[in-house]
Amino acid sequence: MKKIAIFVAIVALLALPYFGNNYIVRLATVMMMYSVLALSWNFIGGMAGYPSFATAAFFGIGAYVGAILQANGIFFGAAWFAAGLIALIFAAIMGRAILHLRGHYFAIASLVMVEVLREVVNTNDQITGGGMGMNIPILKISVEASGMLFYYSMFVVALLTLATASWVYHSKLGFGFRCIQQNEAAANMLGVDSTKYKTIAFSLSAVFVGMAGAIYASWVNYIEPPDVFDIFLTIKPVVMVLLGGMGTVFGPIIGAVAFLALEEIVWRNFLTIHSAVLGLLIVLLVLFLPKGALFFDYRQFFRGRKK
């Protein structure tokens, strides 16, 4: 049942560019990007239970690494891959430094990472263009072809993230994350090397986001620090995961899709008050459904038959 559903979904998404117009494809690309962000945050925030606000930092790193490499003539695919790698290394190093903090302190340390990086990029204008932003070489292919290229690229990264999430969830690693999330001291006593596990979770939450950031940069052709180190990039995945269900495999994706749908509808119809409507939704969500709006249905759906 579960496998059929996933298969159908993948086929439908693969076929999407042949049916939808450019705007739909663009929206679908955003959806894939959101899924990557939400799934990634879920590693550290949902599974390991550390309230990370560093997503925008990884995204920005990815975007700038990808942009700089491409500006220096590196093939775009290689640049994207390298961007993910650099984000991963950065997360591993920073994770070592800040993962001993707990609760609010960790949240803020991760948030401040975003601020520091934005300022660093802003002031190193020799490499990054600083406040002038950066242009990424445009691919010499047709509108439709480039739309499809970025859609499929984002799709592949999303699938990769999902596959990783699914694997982690069912492996020793994910088990360890869940132990840490529920009781770190007890997990330690059971032999979980929590420092190592947390660092892995943090790194996992960075690598795909870094790639997505790089693809995004190529896609929009132009990036500037406030846009890729945007605090909303940090908050949105959290809301998506809250919406879909923390610490689950598919929850983040469902949350991402739901969030995008809401965002689009609200954005289109409430020109001047869309952020208020979004705020209201968040408030309602936290007050009435702290476990995730869509948490229960699909979980039952997937789990029900197994036992």
């Binding site: 705007y23 406040g131 929009v220 132009y222 001047t272 459904l289 709006a293």
Partner: protein, 404 residues
């Protein structure tokens, strides 16, 4: 369970409401309309600018529609501008532009705010071949991308700083040194760099050149250093809030200077309101000023008429951003009426060959699409009003020195 039900109810009510709102607006298409897309930063850091552009565009739309709309061949079309907020986020501006083209199927597009976002979004309109007018982009880099469908109403930045420099030196030959404080952001930095060039050309010595971060809440360190350098001329760039703060702190710290130039802001009423007496004698340059006098074609007619209509609608004196937005609309209208069709290619050609005059000034685009005919005025704030000091044709008052 109860909570979930409640939430579902809330969300579904919201959805129904949304659909209702979304649906109703697209129903009445009985009369013929031309759709213009305008991605604007209506929220976020650039919201004040976005709202200005919206004002300018709305004035054009309402005035033109009141006169029957745009005449295409023998038919008259009503103007409909579809606004989309891109939340001051440049990539979102790109996305929004594409949405307007493919989803809302607009006929023509206005650019987002500023050079950065315009440059980023221009790729989209070029891709789809949609004629696009940028009302607030001045950097040549925007127009030198080889795009065919992008036109802009602002001359290059150097046209602002060069006349200013020439004039200051002509009127006050003892001016030898200049200090620049620039916001580390696309346009402010660009204009600061151009100023540096203009100053170098006139052999002014640069005694201070610093950038400040976006969101800086205190300029006292920079100002104290600047004061110690004793410049003859201080040139500060940034947006309204930065410049108001800088001006106030200059006064607090007793920074006195013969010439103080600020870009971009002093032309705005909010700047003069926000600095009061301290605004006195600040010089600035902009692409337009309400004191200019052009015998314009199109629905606005003369500059005086535009000023009057604007005042009547908003109870405000228009500034260059608002005027440029209105002008962008009129330029579109003139081009469409000349072309006599809505065909993108033909309207584009009409724009490229346009040679006319509007309340905004003479309109003629260079080969790269950037306007080449405009002579931006230099002005100085005197008695709480920005008065033109250059060019001589429309000069209202003589340049005065000394800032306290």
């Amino acid at each position: 369970m109860k909570k979930r039900a409640l939430f579902t109810l809330a969300v579904s009510t919201l959805f129904v409401g949304l659909q209702a709102v979304g649906g109703s607006s697209s129903v009445q298409a009985a009369e013929k309309t031309i759709k213009f897309g305008a991605p604007l930063p209506l929220t976020g850091a650039l919201a004040p600018e976005g709202i200005k552009i919206q004002r300018g565009l709305n004035l054009w739309m309402d005035t033109a529609n009141a006169k029957g709309g745009i005449k295409v061949g023998n038919e008259r079309y009503k103007i409909k501008i579809i606004y989309q907020d891109y939340q001051s986020n440049t990539p979102r501006a790109v996305q929004t532009a594409e949405k307007l083209i493919t989803d809302d199927k607009v006929n023509f597009l206005f650019s987002p705010f500023g050079s950065g976002a315009t440059k980023a979004a221009s790729g989209v309109s070029e891709k789809y071949g949609i004629p696009t007018i940028a009302s607030t982009a001045s950097s040549e880099a925007v127009y030198n991308q080889g795009y065919k469908y992008l036109f802009g109403t602002f001359t290059p930045n150097i046209t602002l700083t060069q006349p200013l420099t020439d004039m200051v030196i002509a009127k006050r030959p003892e001016t030898k040194t200049v200090a620049i404080l620039a916001r580390n952001d696309f346009f402010p930095l660009a204009i600061a760099n151009v100023m540096k060039k203009s100053a170098a050309k006139r052999n002014l010595k640069m005694v201070f050149f610093e950038k400040y971060a976006i969101g800086t809440m205190d300029h006292s360190s920079a100002l104290v250093q600047m004061k110690a350098a004793k410049p003859d001329w201080i040139f500060a760039t940034g947006y309204l809030n930065d410049l108001i703060l800088i001006r106030n702190q200059m006064s607090e710290l007793g920074v006195k200077v013969p010439v103080l130039t600020m870009v971009a802001g002093p032309a705005y009423k909010e700047f003069i309101d926000g600095t009061g007496k301290l605004a006195e004698n600040i010089t600035s340059a902009a692409w337009w000023h309400p004191a200019v006098r052009y015998n314009g074609k199109g629905v606005m007619g003369k500059t005086e008429n535009f000023n009057k209509l604007f005042k009547a609608k908003y109870n405000l004196v228009p500034d260059y951003a608002e005027a440029s937005a209105t002008a962008a609309g009129i330029i579109f209208q003139l081009a469409i009426e000349t072309a006599g069709t809505l065909d993108h290619k033909k309207v584009r050609d009409a724009l490229a060959t346009m040679d006319t005059e509007t309340f905004f000034g003479p309109i003629k685009f260079g080969a790269n699409g950037q306007i080449s005919s405009l002579k931006p005025p230099v002005f100085q704030i005197r008695g709480g009003k920005p008065l033109v000091v250059y060019p001589d044709v429309i000069k209202q008052i003589d340049l005065k020195f000394g800032i306290k």
